[in-house]
Amino acid sequence: MLLSVNSMQKMLTIISNVLKGSASKNVARVVAARTYADFTAEATFDVKKCDTHRLDDAPPTKSVLTREDALKYYRTMQVIRRMELKADQLYKQKIIRGFCHLSDGQEACAVGIEAGIKPTDHLITAYRAHGYTYTRGVSVREILAELTGRRGGCAKGKGGSMHMYANNFYGGNGIVGAQVPLGAGVALACKYLDTDQVCATLYGDGAANQGQIFEAYNMASLWKLPCIFICENNKYAMGTSVERSSASTEYYKRGDFIPGLRVDGMDILCVKEATKYAADLCRAGKGPIVMELQTYRYHGHSMSDPGVSYRTREEIQEVRSKSDPISLLKDRMLANNMASVEELKEIDVQVRKEIEEAAQFATTDPEPPLEELCNHIFNNDAPLEVRGTLPWAKLKSIS
């Protein structure tokens, strides 16, 4: 851990809190004021060494974190956490329907990967996608409104939970494993168009046994596609634990001839360093790499799964108390004086407010108009007629 833990500064915090409480507006608060200059601008943290497969070196075991980035990561993870919990609430109120796969517990994956790649890089994932939709640039407002099926949703209410898209973000995909060849295809386009972009292609421990993933591994390796295959191993594919589904649970080695990394998916800095390392390897034209993120989801597979029939409440509680990604970052920040407790509390308050406002929008925005029903079947196409439920129902479709 880090040096420069200053107990004097801690004392100052306590004094300032006491004084703030009793000081009136007119009293100068010179002695008690905390300025940002009091905080550590930058600190270096140890991260767990990644297990490697077919690699001579590994991602660094030290990660430099600036105060600015720390606050940004904290805030982003809190947004995802609160957004997912709000979705849980709305689902139970039957305002969200159908499928809803939540990712609370896995925040360090989405935020860490985004920190390790550039906005001009590409990302594709499966159906547990709300966090990634946010990190790739869609507002909470538009995400929640899509979940509630309103016209203000990012897919105008046409897609729902599993079909949200953004610039350089290819969803949100409902068919397990299908997104992996798609991601390799995006990587092919990156190489073809001579950019130095990479594609982060995500899948879960359940999908990891899909044949099409091995087909994608083969072609990505053969053609040296800049594809980072990322397995988000949260230990359970719906109700099936990894031991029950996979002859080999070393998902980072499953690429065989493709080098691999096993990463602590609960530590955002470990994810960030590993992603950067992987992206650099791809950008250098060395071909694909497989990254396994060991993570955990607090919720069940989806909202219709309580998540306790195949695992114990004790297990869930243990992960929450020992490995929560947001707590891990918060503890690091506080222990190294990168932020104050109040500051983080203030962020929490702001985040809650943002989520509340987004939820308010998502529950009051009107549903899409019926005139929209048949639109967007095709892209850049002349208007066409679509058969409705009855032979006389000739509906209009524009693209």
Partner: protein, 359 residues
């Protein structure tokens, strides 16, 4: 001369036709082009026109194509644009779709559409539905092409017609060319289209030569998607077909013409969207309809045409029920005599016409 033309069209005798390109001399306006060469030309012209277009599939590059449809393309465009894939349809179809999402314009070849079943999830769920699911944010400009339907002696697993399966799905455009002009113009249109197109060729037609007009020889010649073509004007009865069986209909029409029965033959060209307007106008004129297809009868192309005729204005013009001539409802057998009797024959079409006209 008429007999020669009919032999050329039905492909029973495959003439080795050399493509003449003597534009600098006083060239004949029409040239003979095989369907295969028309497809090669279409891809060549579109590869040249747009750098984002590329071809991938099994044996498309160094082998010049399993059926030689991509002959010469790898030599001209190289590894980057003509890509040989391993035998992994689900994987390479998915890669093709992903590349289309990220800005390229892939042509994904299936050695035959029977193998597309391995990849059908990528075609339907990843390609066809995406524009709708994303409310227009994400386009998928891709062409899936390859031979469809039965060939000669390749038996059950290699002989299925997929027109009805793909024609069923919103979000896809499905084309089924017959002549060389169809092949070239429709493939060019498909490649230029910003949406997923399933392009159903026919192996038995590859070697057949057709006359191609001067207009159709131009590099900008495209055939509009969704429009059928009246190949032969007639007054007594309408025959509607797609792909290889258009030729059978024309042959049947030639025979019937001798008996004074003038058939109107419509070449669908597009399975989806289906040009009902052309069919309805024709039925309004002739009052009789026979559909001909190679695929199985149940839930097939002919079945759809019947349903739509019944739902539309043309129903009142019918003097007899619509007759569907289809493949036999069995997996394709191997022995020649069995195979020949598993698919529509010219005599079946003639019989249906006479039945419809009550002759």
């Amino acid at each position: 001369m008429a007999l020669l033309k009919s032999c050329v069209r039905s492909g029973r005798n495959v003439f080795a036709v050399i493509l003449r390109r003597e534009f600098h001399k006083t060239a004949p306006a029409l040239v003979q082009v095989t369907v295969r060469d028309a497809l090669t030309q279409a891809m060549d012209e579109e590869l040249e026109r747009d750098e984002r277009v590329f071809l991938l599939g099994e044996e498309v590059a160094q082998y010049d194509g399993a059926y030689k449809v991509s002959r010469g393309l790898w030599k001209k465009y190289g590894d980057k644009r003509i890509i040989d894939t391993p035998i992994t349809e689900m994987g390479f179809a998915g890669i093709a779709v992903g590349s289309a999402m990220a800005g390229l314009r892939p042509i994904c070849e299936f050695m035959t559409f029977n193998f597309s079943m391995q990849a059908i999830d990528q075609i339907i769920n990843s390609a066809a539905k995406t524009s709708y699911m994303s409310a227009g944010l994400q386009s998928v400009p891709i062409v899936f092409r390859g031979p469809n339907g039965h060939s000669a002696g390749v038996a059950a697993q290699h002989s299925q017609c997929f027109a009805a399966w793909y024609g069923h799905c919103p979000g896809l455009k499905v084309l089924s060319p017959w002549s060389a002009e169809d092949a070239k113009g429709l493939l060019k249109a498909a490649i230029r289209d910003d949406n997923p197109v399933v392009f159903l060729e026919n192996e038995l037609l590859y070697g057949v030569a057709f006359e191609v007009s001067e207009e159709a020889q131009s590099k900008d010649f495209v055939v509009p998607i969704g429009k059928a073509k009246v190949e032969r004007q007639g007054t007594r009865i309408t025959l509607v077909s797609h792909s290889r069986y258009v030729g059978h209909c024309l042959d049947a029409a030639a025979v019937l013409a001798k008996e004074g029965i003038e058939c109107e033959v419509i070449n669908l060209r597009s399975i989806r969207p289906l040009d009902m307007e052309t069919i309805e106008s024709s039925v309004a004129k002739t009052n009789h309809l026979v559909t001909v297809e190679g695929g199985w009868p149940q839930f097939g192309v002919g079945a759809e045409i019947c349903a739509r005729i019944m739902e539309g204005p043309a129903f009142n013009y019918l003097d007899a029920p619509v007759i569907r001539v289809t493949g036999v409802d069995i997996p394709m057998p191997y022995a020649k005599i069995l195979e020949d009797n598993s698919v529509p024959q010219i005599k079946d079409i003639i019989f249906s016409v006479k039945k419809s006209l009550n002759i």
